[in-house]
């Protein structure tokens, strides 16, 4: 209980990943869907950093660093696409994206 080990961080990562996954499956608003995906990415980063610390290996921190870079670029492109969609349809609800038109 008092000695924090690797298992504690992995359990925390599991709980946060579960919360983010519930958010992804629950939300219909695309902006809030992006919020939930950020939770998923950061929960995995905690696991990477914890394993890196307990094995004395810097590879985990490198992976977490690149995950943060990918999350930033995903957000930039995603918001750009959201703006284009909002201009055409006036809403960012998932229901308006269920059909594709050529």
């Amino acid at each position: 209980m008092m000695e924090i080990g690797l298992n504690h961080y992995l359990v925390l990562s599991t709980i946060l990943f579960a919360i983010g996954l519930v958010g992804v499956m629950k939300r219909k608003n695309l902006l809030l869907l992006f919020f939930a995906t950020e939770i998923l990415l950061n929960s995995v980063n905690i696991a990477f950093a914890a394993i890196s610390h307990y094995y004395g290996d810097l590879t985990g921190q490198m992976f977490a660093f690149f995950v943060i870079a990918i999350a930033a670029s995903e957000l930039a492109v995603g918001l750009g696409l959201l703006i284009v969609w909002f201009k055409r349809h006036g809403t960012i609800d998932l229901d308006t994206m269920t059909s594709m038109r050529g």
Binding site: I4, S13, M25, L31, L32, D57, L58, L75
Partner: protein, 187 residues
């Protein structure tokens, strides 16, 4: 003792903040809770000795990602109530638990091996930032350059997507036209 208290405190705070993010119907509450949660996640990085990652987490997420989200909220007028996907609760909870446990099993699978050696071990006496800089700019130089190009492409794509077919271009209009447009908009 200090590490245990800090871990449980920040774990409780992080789980609470992210629970608010996925349950509230107010986008502003979700955004604020998400920003707070990112700060608490950087606390875990500092506890684990990943100082550079903690600083990057604060700068990138709270400084940049939250600013973009705030812009998105204002642009999309999400002060209205957001709709929820009211699917089957048990399917959602079951799939969520299964996926989360699967992620932890994937992470924990190499730990049962007895031949684990560190690719890039931490060096005694050197600080975390020095170690990160050394490995990042020697062993991970190519992924670093690829990530830089990817961020540049994402930035250009975001600008082109958002800026294309703007309704009005203030730089191409004369002041008289700008005044007329303002009168039309305000009327």
């Amino acid at each position: 003792m200090f590490e245990a208290v800090a871990f449980y405190l920040f774990a409780f705070l992080t789980i609470s903040m992210f629970f608010i993010v996925v349950t509230t119907s107010q986008a502003l509450y979700a955004l604020t809770a998400l920003a707070a949660g990112m700060i608490f996640i950087s606390a875990f990085f500092f506890i684990l000795g990943a100082d550079f990652l903690g600083a990057v987490q604060i700068i990138v997420y709270t400084g940049a990602v939250m600013a973009l989200y705030a812009f998105g909220m204002m642009f999309f007028d999400t002060t209205r109530e957001v709709k929820e996907k009211l699917g089957n609760k048990y399917i959602i909870l079951g799939l969520t638990t299964f996926a989360a446990v699967l992620v932890v099993v994937i992470f924990s699978a190499p730990m049962v091996s007895s031949n684990i050696t560190a690719f890039y071990p931490m060096v005694e006496g050197a600080g975390n930032t020095q170690e990160v800089g050394l490995v990042l700019f020697t062993k991970y130089l190519v992924p670093f350059e690829v990530a830089a190009v990817m961020l540049l492409v994402a930035m250009v794509a975001g600008i082109v997507l958002a800026g294309k077919k703007m309704d009005n271009s203030l730089t191409l209009m004369s002041e008289v036209e700008i005044d007329e447009t303002n009168k039309k908009v305000l009327s």
